[in-house]
């Protein structure tokens, strides 16, 4: 038996439970919910949700950029530490990701609420309570909070792999520390930036819980709409259509990202 046949059960599994479901999404997207006939109605109805799409993309974009700005110095710092320290810090960064993001988001509610912890301090100082929650800012904060590790990890992985001898060579050729960073380290870290950006943007654009808890009706995002189509409104066809568009959107993003990176490996968890 050839060894590569060992992967066959897995391939069958993936075909049935990954590829086929995506096909079914497409099927439902083009099917009328009542009659089951082929229709473009669902796709057309998406037009109603364009503002929501735009908002989702916008908030996700802002969150991704903030994550990039915050995440880069952290990744850079960790990559420069000793082996043991790196492993320890990496674990610290990863740990929150493994713990229920529902509860962590709820904690932010407790922090940001009008009668929450932060406002507790604010009012204690005699100032008026700040409207922190139910704003776009709160949603962005929630996204950044939840997805920051997804930015730091690929960045760290890429920076850490940069051959230290390249840095030495640059120094040998006369570069100051800033120049070494600007001319050698940063350009080489670009695949990590792209990877991290993708890993933040994709979940951010499709989230539905963060916007519910930290946002208001004005911050309904596309994830919320899809969820409601499946759970409350029970229009799986529209939900499927929206999912399809979301998927295509993500696909396009990744395609653009891959254009800029010739790294075959996506730096994953």
């Amino acid at each position: 038996m050839k060894t590569k046949r060992l992967a066959d059960p897995y391939l069958v599994w993936m075909a049935i439970f990954t590829i086929v479901p995506l096909g079914i999404v497409v099927y439902f997207a083009f099917t009328d919910s009542a009659t089951g006939a082929f229709t473009f109605k669902n796709i057309v109805n998406i037009g109603n949700y364009i503002p929501i799409f735009v908002k989702s993309i916008w908030l996700a974009l802002v969150s991704s950029i903030i994550c990039m700005v915050i995440g880069y110095p952290v990744a850079y710092y960790i990559a420069g530490r000793s082996h043991k320290a790196q492993r320890f810090l990496y674990m610290l960064i990863m740990l929150p990701m493994c713990i229920s993001f529902l509860l962590r988001t709820m904690a932010w509610v407790a922090l940001l609420d009008d009668t929450g912890i932060i406002n507790g301090f604010v009012t204690a100082m005699g100032l008026k309570a700040l409207p922190l929650i139910r704003t776009n800012g709160a949603v962005v904060l929630g996204m950044v909070y939840n997805y920051l590790p997804y930015m730091i990890m690929p960045l760290y992985t890429v920076i850490m792999k940069i051959d230290p001898r390249l840095v030495e060579a640059a120094q040998d050729l006369g570069c100051s520390n800033t120049q070494v960073f600007r001319r050698v380290v940063f350009p080489l870290s670009v695949p990590g930036i792209i990877s991290g950006f993708t890993m933040v943007f994709v979940p951010a654009v499709s989230t539905f819980y963060i916007s519910q808890k930290l946002g208001s009706s004005g911050t309904t995002l596309i994830g919320d709409v899809i969820e409601s189509q499946f759970k409350t409104a029970y229009n799986p066809n529209l939900g499927a259509a929206l999912s399809l568009v979301l998927m295509v959107l993500v696909f396009i993003c990744i395609g653009i990202m891959n254009r800029f990176s010739d790294d075959e490996e996506v730096a994953t968890v």
Partner: protein, 280 residues
């Protein structure tokens, strides 16, 4: 610049852990509002252990996590072996497919599986198709890529001659795997299994779309809970889970440290060959 990075990193870490601290503190709070401290107490923990609803849910999550990670590890390791033996073009395609559950938004994965099950349900004329099995299938599906991505690098790192040496010495391919290869890739298998377990335990979005009313996992129930005001015993639960996951992570960390040490010793021993003095 270095100190700025250091301080910045510390601030970011604080930022990441603030909610945990809030929740941990709230778990000891003698009151329901985490914002209002009403005295230290352990009653929340007591209530947690006496709770007839939460603990069974935790058990459910555990069961799904254990079973799905074991199955995903077995299936995924086999897959990794097969993928490793493929030519480059086939390998790239399969790895591309493997990446789909990772890069797809969770909501799309959840929705697509829900639709699949609904479709099958109508085909088989079954009305309540969602349940333990669908949940398990979904968990295995999103765990598989983690296992594969943990094991394949270990396969690539392994000296390919080792397997051939085993064959040369009389092992059938199966024997070669169980007597030699598996020892080399074990760190990858274990890390893939632990990763799957953790992801499974914590999964909310995908489970939310494929679960049935007869078998609910903890994160899904917490979502339903969070629609009403939270009971403090949930904070207690959270704190305990946090400590448990911390333990698992420390474990993984130690395993990696041991593996790294072994690799560097091996590398030094072989690298030393090139500078060998004729002492024998």
């Amino acid at each position: 610049m270095r100190t700025f990075n250091k301080v910045f990193t510390i601030l970011v870490l604080v930022f990441l852990y603030i909610p945990m601290i809030v929740l941990a503190v709230a778990s000891f709070n003698n009151g329901t509002d985490p914002a209002v401290w009403q005295g230290f107490t352990l009653t929340n923990y007591g209530e947690l252990f006496r709770d007839g609803v939460l603990l069974p849910l935790l058990a459910n999550s555990f069961i799904v996590a254990v079973i799905s990670s074991l199955l995903a590890t077995a299936l995924g390791t086999m897959a990794a072996l097969g993928i490793h033996a493929m030519g480059p073009r086939m390998k790239r395609t399969v790895m591309g497919v493997t990446n789909i559950p990772l890069t797809n938004p969770e909501i799309v994965t959840g929705v697509s599986l829900a639709l699949l099950f609904a479709f099958v349900g109508t085909l088989l004329k079954v009305s309540n198709v969602l349940g333990f099995v669908t949940l398990l299938i979904a968990h295995i599906t999103f765990n598989l890529p983690y296992v594969i991505l943990s094991v394949t690098p270990k396969l690539s790192q392994m000296d390919p001659d080792l397997r051939e040496a085993a064959l040369d010495l009389g092992c059938t391919p199966a024997q070669a795997f169980f007597k030699v290869v598996i020892h080399e890739i074990m760190p990858g298998i274990v890390s893939g299994a632990l990763m799957s377990f953790t992801m499974s335990l914590d999964d909310f979005v995908i489970s939310y779309f494929v679960y049935g009313p007869n078998f609910v996992t903890l994160p899904v129930e917490i979502y339903n809970y969070t629609k009403k005001p939270l009971q403090p015993k949930i904070y207690a639960l959270f704190t305990l889970l946090f400590l448990a996951i911390l333990l698992v992570m420390v474990l993984m960390n130690l395993l990696e440290a041991k593996d790294d040490r072994q690799q560097s010793v091996a590398r030094r021993a072989f690298g030393g060959l090139r500078k060998e003095r004729a002492e024998e």
